[in-house]
Symmetry: C2
Subunit: 255 residues, 2 copies
């Protein structure tokens, strides 16, 4: 397919590279600032424009910009009956109803930076379409990229996004807290890595619900009190420790 | 060395198996309940006793029981000048001062169940001794098991344990929350696994501090408000979402 990408950030970059590798032609990169857009256009053999009036014809237009900018970029695009999608986990596809008669969602559920190339073959791609023909074309596109494509409703996509915030963004923050605690006491985060990697390996075969260990899981009040006392000098971490421990205890009580 | 293990739970089991594999002789398993103790004794070719008066001579006695039971088990043990250690991340070694003139800590920093054998070669082993000779013998023992041995102070061990609770127990709970959110909405936790495994892989090369992404990290208030509204039906998760988002924002402001 002939694809135009609007945006030149992490998701735009990885999608452009991935789609090209899957055999599609990236015809154009649109971006407001020149540098990132030109660089990406060069990388995928596309033309570049920062002027919406110079947008060429394509089969699919992918708006891969920050959530808050989707409506603005969409307002620049008149795609007729060509398909327009955005890549957000949260925003409604209806933001695109003024761009085209055919629109939807193309949401790759993966963390993306420009640091390393994404292998899309195992990245779940969540798709929505405002009609059956659009959905089918998006499914064909998603399948050319990944073995895991999922037709979802808007509500499902939003729940998956919330769950991903817990499973990715919040866990990463706890690793950062852990690193900060160690660094403040002259210790190296490296010491925790075997534990971290092993715990995650266990997730391949077991539900996190059965893998729960630690002071809160075994209702070891003495250790919890001791840890809270240690964290007295780090009020923010103390509050996290208390709420997370309470939440673990509450979860175990429900069983 | 000739080693006696007191306890037959997860840590006792894995340590007994690991030390035997490293070439040591497990002379005896002591445990109050017969079944688990006998099973472990058979697995490592040791004798079994549930009677403290039948404890035989050994070079090292390892008390691997729940934190709250360490003092009780220690009160049964008279080891003369043989080395006695416990395996807790939090408790002081001084609990053992009545068992022997030589005592310390032997704390393997890894999550352990009976489900799968632990490969100790990369498990950090944290050791303390109440004197230099004890510490040296424990270091020899630890090195026979693992490439990573660390002489620590009591305070360092406690901070490492707190950090491990954040990096392992609390992150696991967030995976469980994430799974629960998906299950409640008819979705499968599997869909998040590529994201989870990729994020953890990124930790091999980068600090979690630079890997932080998500609505809170980019101060995307609209998405945060939307997620909090979705979680209105799950007050416990809503509270976690709010506190963790605030904590991410606060961390980013410090930079």
């Amino acid at each position: 397919m002939n694809i135009t990408i609007l945006g030149a950030g992490n998701v735009a970059t990885q999608l452009a590279l991935g789609l090209r590798k899957a055999g599609h032609s990236i015809v154009q990169i649109f971006n407001r600032s020149d540098n990132a857009g030109q660089e990406l256009a060069r990388a995928v053999g596309a033309s570049f424009t920062s002027d919406a009036r110079s947008l060429q014809n394509a089969d699919v237009y992918i708006i891969a910009v920050k959530d808050d900018a989707i409506a603005d970029v969409a307002s620049l695009l008149k795609a007729g009956d060509k398909i327009v999608v955005h890549t957000s986990g949260t925003k409604t596809k209806d933001l695109l109803s003024f761009c085209s008669a055919n629109y939807g969602i193309f949401y790759p559920l993966q963390t993306m930076t420009k640091l390393s190339k994404v292998d899309f073959s195992n990245v779940p791609v969540l798709i929505e379409g405002n009609n059956e023909a659009t959905l089918q074309l998006l499914e064909t596109l998603a399948r050319s990229l990944s073995k895991q494509t999922h037709k979802v409703t808007e509500e499902q996509r939003q729940w998956i996004h919330v769950a991903a915030v817990f499973a990715n963004n919040f866990t990463n923050h706890l690793f950062a807290v852990s690193e900060e605690i160690l660094t403040m006491h002259g210790l190296d985060f490296e010491i925790l890595k075997p534990l971290i990697f092993r715990s995650i390996e266990n997730l391949r075969e077991h539900s996190p619900a059965v893998l729960q260990t630690g002071p809160a899981a075994r209702r070891d009040k003495l250790t919890i009190e001791r840890h809270l006392a240690l964290l007295e000098q780090h009020k923010n971490f103390q509050e996290l420790y208390r709420l997370l421990s309470d939440s673990i205890t509450a979860t175990q009580s429900k069983r």
